[in-house]
Amino acid sequence: MPRPVQEINAGSMADIAFLLLIFFLVTTTMDVDSGILRKLPPIVENQQENEDKIKERNVFVVLINKNNQLLVQGEWIDVRTLKDRAKEFIANPKDNPNLPEKKPTEVILLGTYPVTKGVISLQNDRGTSYEMYINVQNQLTAAYSELREEFAKQKFGNVYDKLDADQQKAVNEVYPQKISEAEPKNIGGKK
């Protein structure tokens, strides 16, 4: 006669699971890695040649000094107004001769479209605080993404995130993100 199998007491199972749960809560982190993505330029030997080709009207110069002050196109401005200045520069809605020229370029889905040749040139000092630098980078990125957002709404009638891959590519080609960082300089003293 087979003996009946004894039932396992599952009452402590919850405790064991709790223990595991607490272990994982302690040893893990929840934060998602996120931030501002940038691509560094590869090191080029004959840099001088490259820089000469860009006309003055096509460059938007942003300088940050060691006291975290901002000089944009030769004017002191507040960082909060930087986004609007950058947007105006990139979009150039009235074809102002002082703002960047536009070059008709073949764009996917849209055919030929005048694409701005504007480049934002960012230069910081060694003494600039990282907070300020990120703030400026953030403002410039915001300028680009707002323009892209507006363009996406106007042309495709939807927010940028909801467009399909080709449409997003088209929007990116119309407003290419061009932020160039000058070779570092040391004006404010070594720190």
Binding site: A14, A17, T28, T29, N138
Partner: protein
């Protein structure tokens, strides 16, 4: 009339706890899936600046971290209060970054190397000098995909 009379003698019936382990296990699995193991112990204080225009880094396994910040109090006696670089678990110099990057590359699959990203986790109060040095060093090792890690700020 006994039609609706209660069966027992009143009192709360015992709560069945047999499904409690299942609930806890579910929680456990949720946390195991959504979180990652803490890999390194930070010896520096890093309070990253805030930004609104942030993007998520997609593949965590392809991200190498470089931390920069002032040493924590317990390390200040040895390392001072100036911002320093931390790679993995140790303090490092700018010149160590090249080795670090090549180690990170060697640890990954060969066709994943072009997608590797370096995430700079820098304290907001750090001066740009050290960051510029790191960037130049990264350019020299041809590690060009860069991410400035930030905290998410509310859009105004």
């Amino acid at each position: 009339m006994g039609k609706f009379s209660r069966k027992g003698k009143g009192g709360v019936p015992a709560l069945s706890t047999s499904s409690l382990p299942d609930i806890i296990f579910m929680l456990l699995f949720f946390f195991m899936v959504t979180t990652t193991m803490r890999e390194t112990e930070l010896k520096i204080k890093v309070k990253m600046p805030e930004a609104t225009e942030i993007k998520k880094l997609e593949k965590k396994s392809l991200v190498s971290n470089i931390h920069v910040g002032a040493p924590k109090e317990s390390y200040q006696a040895m390392y001072g209060t100036e911002p320093r670089i931390q790679l993995n678990d140790v303090f490092a110099k700018v010149s160590d970054i090249a080795d670090y990057i090549s180690n990170e590359r060697a640890a990954r699959d060969e066709n994943e190397v072009p997608f590797m990203t370096v995430s700079l986790k820098v304290d907001g109060k750090t001066q740009m000098g050290i960051v510029t040095d790191i960037k130049q060093e990264l350019r020299k090792c041809n590690a060009l995909k860069l991410n400035y890690a930030t905290r998410k700020a509310k859009k105004s």
